[in-house]
């Protein structure tokens, strides 16, 4: 028998209570994993989308909505002369409800712009020109909309031909409906408006130079902001709100976990008062009692954390298939997040055990003789 055996037996003394506490911690940690994983996934998915399009800098005005605010397409004329700018591609990106899909990315791109070039045709073809009243669908979007080449797609008031299914190399790209910029401007009555400019810089540009180009663009175009690709999503108030809410909810879940473990450990100490006094009476040092209680609560945290990570992982995998978010993001459930979540659970366990451990250390061995 080892000291760890004693710790485990302490927890197994009330298996139902221990089990319920573990479920409580697991749900809390699952919430952390799911919410943080999804909010980070939102960021990384958009970043990956930018990378596959070969975008170095994004010019946009990320306001409080999930998509940027529109501005005049003429701002491109003020950007192209800036030194270091190699190529631009104007976009109008909207989140729209299309047929069966509650929310879908509609990505309208300047005809001939470089943002078309990453799209690999899986079946069918790309539109012949900017004027063709046609769309191509990312492969996930095609699945969600249950469309194939030759079908039509209702966009606003017009039925457009689906001429191709494409692989964009990233979740966001594959979940998009792609069409020419002028066509969407016409359909949505947004003539002359864009909300994103994808920009490539000259090869060999350093990070410092990239930052300077961003500063120069922001000065030249006060109605928008130039940000290195991937960072622009963090500028969005909506993203910040989602991120803050996910951390806030996680914090609440952790707090509930702390109270749950503390309650369990306090009950354990109260119930085992005489046992603890006997341990003191047979010569156990107070610090060993404290260590026993803290190890029990840490073990509760560890097991709850592992359960929570598993629960969160499975939950997120199920959640991303929901119609509302499918194709919008790939949750970022990296090892660091999972390890950190387990770490949080262990810290929660230890923290929650401090007061019960202190209480147990204050007991007098003389109580062993009573009862």
């Amino acid at each position: 028998m080892t000291f760890f055996t004693i710790v485990v037996r302490g927890l197994m003394r009330r298996p139902v209570r221990t089990g319920l506490t573990l479920v409580g911690i697991s749900i809390g940690i699952a919430a952390v994993v799911a919410l943080v994983g999804i909010s980070r996934g939102f960021e990384t998915s958009w970043e990956a989308g930018m990378k596959t399009r070969g975008t170095d800098v994004v010019v946009s005005n990320m306001g409080s909505a999930l998509t940027p605010k529109p501005f005049s397409a003429s701002v491109v004329d003020r950007i192209t002369p800036i030194p270091g700018v190699a190529e631009t591609c104007s976009l109008l990106v909207e989140l729209m409800s299309i047929e069966k899909a509650e929310m879908m990315i509609v990505s309208a791109r300047q005809w001939g712009g470089f943002s078309w070039k990453n799209l690999k045709v899986v079946t069918g073809r790309l539109p012949h020109d900017a004027k063709e009243r046609a769309v191509v669908l990312g492969k996930t979007a095609a699945e969600m909309l249950q469309k194939k080449v030759g079908d039509t797609l209702q966009l606003e008031t017009e039925e457009l031909a689906v001429v191709g299914i494409v692989d964009g190399g990233a979740v966001v790209e594959n979940g998009s409906v792609v069409l020419s910029l002028s066509l969407l401007q016409e359909l949505t009555g947004s003539e002359g408006k864009i909300n994103i400019i994808d920009l490539r810089v000259t090869p060999g540009t350093s990070k410092e130079q990239l930052n300077k180009i961003c500063d120069d663009i922001t000065k030249a175009v006060p109605e928008a902001r130039a940000v290195i690709a991937g960072e622009h999503i963090r500028d969005s108030q909506a993203y910040r709100m989602i991120s803050a809410m996910s951390w806030g909810t996680s914090l609440l879940a952790v707090l509930v976990g702390v109270l749950g473990v503390m309650n369990t450990m306090l009950m354990t100490v109260f119930e085992r008062t005489q046992e603890i006094c006997i341990l003191l009476a047979v010569g156990w040092k107070r610090r060993r009692i404290v260590r026993m209680v803290l190890l029990e609560s840490a073990l509760l945290g560890l097991l709850g954390g592992l359960g929570g990570v598993a629960l969160g992982f499975i939950g997120v995998k199920l959640m991303i298939n929901l119609p509302a978010i499918r194709g919008l993001l790939e949750p970022d459930l990296n090892l660091t997040l999972l390890a950190r979540s387990v770490g949080i659970a262990v810290v929660v366990g230890i923290f929650s055990g401090l007061y019960p451990a202190w209480r147990s250390s204050r007991l007098s061995p003389s109580q062993a003789l009573h009862g």
């Binding site: 028998m1 037996r9 003191l280 009476a281 047979v282 062993a368 003789l369």
Partner: protein, 239 residues
């Protein structure tokens, strides 16, 4: 550290030992003076509330005296830096209600005090097996307390009290929860072990038939020693 010149044969020496509760409203011990010598078997008798269990708690360092001094082998217990060491290595406690840990087997219960020693796990187990054999429970090692009879539980408790090689056994009504047949067997076991291992035994009881087996009987009344007598039939040491 305060020492006493009582000589090497004296295990305990109490000087004006008092214990009060509730700010002095309850006086459990009202100034005791006595000595207990090496290898003695002392029975402490008295009615409920006479202070005998309180005295045992002080001897076992489960509680502190309010005033007065208690020396153990010449040095004051109050001045010991770590009383848990004293409880772990110098004394063994046997309780009336056995006080075994219910979620541990007999073998594991005996190992519990050994966690405060440097013994490796295998040694702890071997020692526990040896002690259980000594108390006649070799076949019941893996039984939980709930599956043991009262007598068997007390045997496990006796084995536990000897786990770290205590030289003093403090027993608080060790047969109080047992039927007369088991009580006799347990008392015989304690007396035999005490004799074989040269242990000093202090036994609290209200049963005079048990007290008569001791070499010396301290009678307590209202927190005071009312009589301290040698049993002519069993005594070997002077008070």
């Amino acid at each position: 550290m305060a020492t006493s010149d009582t000589g090497p044969g004296c295990v305990f020496e109490a000087i004006a030992l008092k214990k009060e509760y509730d700010g002095g409203q309850v006086q459990a011990l009202r100034g005791l003076d006595f000595r207990i010598n090496e290898g003695e078997f002392v029975a402490i008798v008295g009615q409920s509330g006479s202070g005998k269990s309180t005295l045992l708690q002080l001897l076992g360092a489960l509680d502190h005296p309010s005033t007065g001094t208690l020396h153990y082998r010449g040095s004051s217990l109050a001045e010991r830096a770590d009383l848990s060491d004293y409880r772990a290595h110098e004394i063994g406690f046997i309780f009336q209600a056995f006080h075994l840990l219910p979620t541990f087997t007999a073998l594991e219960n005996v190992q519990i005090p050994m966690f405060e020693t440097n013994r490796p796990a295998a040694d702890r187990k071997a020692r526990a097996i040896e002690l259980l054999r000594l108390v006649g429970l070799e076949g019941r090692q893996h039984h939980f307390p709930a599956k043991l009879s009262g007598g068997e539980r007390q045997r496990v408790a006796i084995a536990r009290s000897l786990a770290n090689g205590a030289s003093v056994l403090l027993a608080d009504e060790p047969t109080g929860n047992l039927d007369s047949e088991n009580a006799a067997l347990i008392l015989d076991l304690i007396v035999r072990l005490r004799r074989e291992q040269s242990i000093t035994l202090v036994l609290v009881t209200h049963d005079m038939s048990i007290a008569r087996q001791a070499e010396r009987v301290i009678e307590m009344k209202d927190g005071r020693i009312s009589a301290d007598t040698l049993n002519a039939a069993t005594s070997r040491n002077p008070i």
